[in-house]
């Protein structure tokens, strides 16, 4: 693309555009490599290895880190996701409703829960709810509380995503369905929502990745030994062993899940791009 440009422009003295670009790119590489080397030299690798990569400690984490901590992280995430999806769907439909008060309530919900840090919502669920309704227990104990807290946070984001997905389905689809005799609700369920979900699968999967990380906030609810997930498990072990290796292993476990999920999302996005063409 640039080649014809260069020829079209009268040759000024000095560098052509291609040459300038090669030069600036070369300079960027040099700076980058220099920075990496500087870090590598400056860091005390011996101490880092002692603190973060002790094989013996890492080995004693297995299989618990997988069968208990990762399992709980996945469980918390999925239950939060399901609650968020159901609640998000309801809020999205309210937001699209022709009934004013529904739209306002949905709008207010979204504004509040999108604006609050997830941490505060966990604390609220953990402290305020038992205070306000003494004697009542949230169904499912810790699992129920986590599902609720994560779900409340996720619902706000998912509602907006689902709403965008529904609006991205061409208007003619609803008209075709209505003219065949579908009621508005039936048309929504059988025709519109299945198409909307195809459109929003990538952003929903992204939301799953975010929830996966947010599940670490369970820590603030106070959990039993069996209820610990990756972050809490890693931190507990780090303090008993006075070594940070468990933190590194826990981190790797997160990446074990989030990297493939991210890959799946990019694949879906690329496919969607192709379908548009």
């Amino acid at each position: 693309m640039t080649a014809p440009d260069v020829r079209l422009q009268p040759r000024k003295k000095g560098l052509t555009r291609t040459q300038k670009r090669t030069l600036s790119r070369g300079a960027q590489y040099v700076v980058f490599v220099a920075a990496v080397i500087a870090f590598a030299v400056a860091a005390d690798w011996g101490r880092l290895k002692n603190q973060f990569a002790q094989w013996s400690i890492a080995k004693q984490m297995f299989p618990d880190v997988i069968t208990l901590a990762l399992k709980n992280t996945v469980l918390y995430t999925l239950s939060g996701f399901v609650v968020g999806l159901v609640l998000g769907m309801v809020i999205a439909l309210m937001r699209l409703s022709s009934v004013g008060p529904y739209r306002w309530v949905a709008g207010i919900y979204i504004e509040i829960f999108r604006g609050l840090p997830a941490l505060l919502i966990f604390i609220f669920i953990g402290v305020a709810v038992p205070l306000a309704f003494p004697g009542t227990e949230i169904v499912g104990g810790t699992y129920g509380k986590v599902a609720l807290a994560l779900g409340l946070v996720a619902a706000a984001y998912m509602a907006e995503t689902i709403r965008a997905g529904i609006q991205a389905v061409p208007k003619g689809q609803m008209e075709a369905a209505r003219s065949l005799g579908f009621s508005p609700a039936r048309a929504m369920i059988s025709i519109i929502i299945p198409q909307a979900f195809r459109i929003i699968l990538p952003p929903l999967t992204n939301e799953l990745v975010l929830l996966f990380k947010d599940s670490s906030l369970v820590l603030f609810l106070g959990v039993t030994l069996e209820e610990r997930e990756l972050s809490k498990y890693g931190r507990d072990l780090a303090s008993t062993t006075a070594n940070s290796t468990p933190i590194l292993v826990a981190g790797l476990c997160y990446l074990l899940v989030t990297i493939p999920l991210g890959f799946v999302v990019r694949r879906m996005e690329a496919k969607a791009q192709e379908a548009v063409k």
């Binding site: 061409p170 003619g172 689809q173 008209e175 075709a176 369905a177 209505r178 003219s179 065949l180 005799g181 579908f182 009621s183 039936r186 059988s190 025709i191 299945p194 198409q195 195809r198």
Partner: protein
């Protein structure tokens, strides 16, 4: 104005119909009767309100004033079960509007099952029968995206027919098609007309209107300017506005613009 033929009683009746979008009055008092088995083509310049009229007939647009009756049921009655009435009215769109996430067969069976409550076997039988009628049995398992425009439109017609409608509405069914695909769709519509289906067709296909329609209705500026037998309205129009419209339609310079419109619409979808 001569030779209207509400032979076996009116299947579609439009009385004093007005429709405004905000301040824009698009339909300014339409009266129209279409008899059972009659084929009526509606022609007129862009923006004259043809689509709006058609969409008022199955209440996709809510009339501002006036009445619409189909098969004796008043659709404009606020207490009518509109979904029940719509099952008796098939509608074919310019942009086909097939359900892209479903196969051809599922496009035909899902509405039957969800709306009419037919069982699986019955729905499949009706779907296969109607696919055969439009000549697309071999596409039963294909997805809409893999079909040509003409094939998609024939599937859309088969989907409507599967609901067993008494009336079929067509809104420029061939305007989004490449010229070589128009014929197949018109052939299917011709077959329906021969079988005695009551049809209201908005179209720019003058040959079809001339050969198939029992009556042609010319609209301009939200009113019916004239109507009558095709030979009269198309061949020997009584009104200057009709003459003007027809001459522009036949003028090759204008024809280019006419062809441009459906393509732009297609891209917007």
């Amino acid at each position: 104005m001569s030779q209207t033929s509400p032979a076996a009683g009116a299947e579609i009746e439009v009385r004093g119909l007005h429709k405004s979008f905000g301040d824009n009055e698009v339909l300014r008092g339409i009266d129209l009767e279409i008899g059972r088995g009659e084929v009526v083509c509606v022609i007129g310049p862009s923006g004259s309100g043809k689509s709006t009229l058609l969409r008022c007939v199955n209440l996709l647009e809510e009339p501002t004033k006036g009445q619409v009756l189909v098969g004796g049921t008043e659709l404009t009655d606020p207490d009518v079960d509109i979904d029940a009435v719509r099952r008796r009215i098939g509608m074919v769109f310019q942009q086909f509007n097939l359900f892209p996430h479903l196969t051809v067969t599922r496009n035909l069976t899902l509405p039957q099952r969800r709306v009419l409550g037919r069982d699986k076997a019955e729905a499949a039988r009706v779907a296969a029968e109607n696919l055969a009628r439009v000549g697309l049995s071999e596409k039963a398992d294909a997805y809409p995206a893999s079909l040509s425009g003409g094939q998609q439109q024939r599937v859309a017609i088969a989907r409507s027919l599967s609901m067993g409608p008494e009336v079929m509405l067509f809104d420029e069914p061939t305007s989004a098609l490449d010229p070589e695909l128009v014929g197949d769709v018109l052939a299917v519509m011709r077959m329906l007309a021969d079988e005695g289906m009551t049809m209201m067709v908005v179209t720019h296909e003058m040959t079809f209107a001339r050969e198939v329609a029992d009556r042609v209705v010319f609209m301009d500026g939200g009113v019916i300017v004239e109507q009558g037998a095709p030979a009269q309205v198309i061949g020997d129009p009584a009104h200057e506005r009709t003459r003007h419209f027809l001459s522009r339609l036949l003028d090759p310079a204008m024809a280019e613009v006419e062809e441009g419109t459906p393509e732009q619409l297609g891209k917007g979808d």
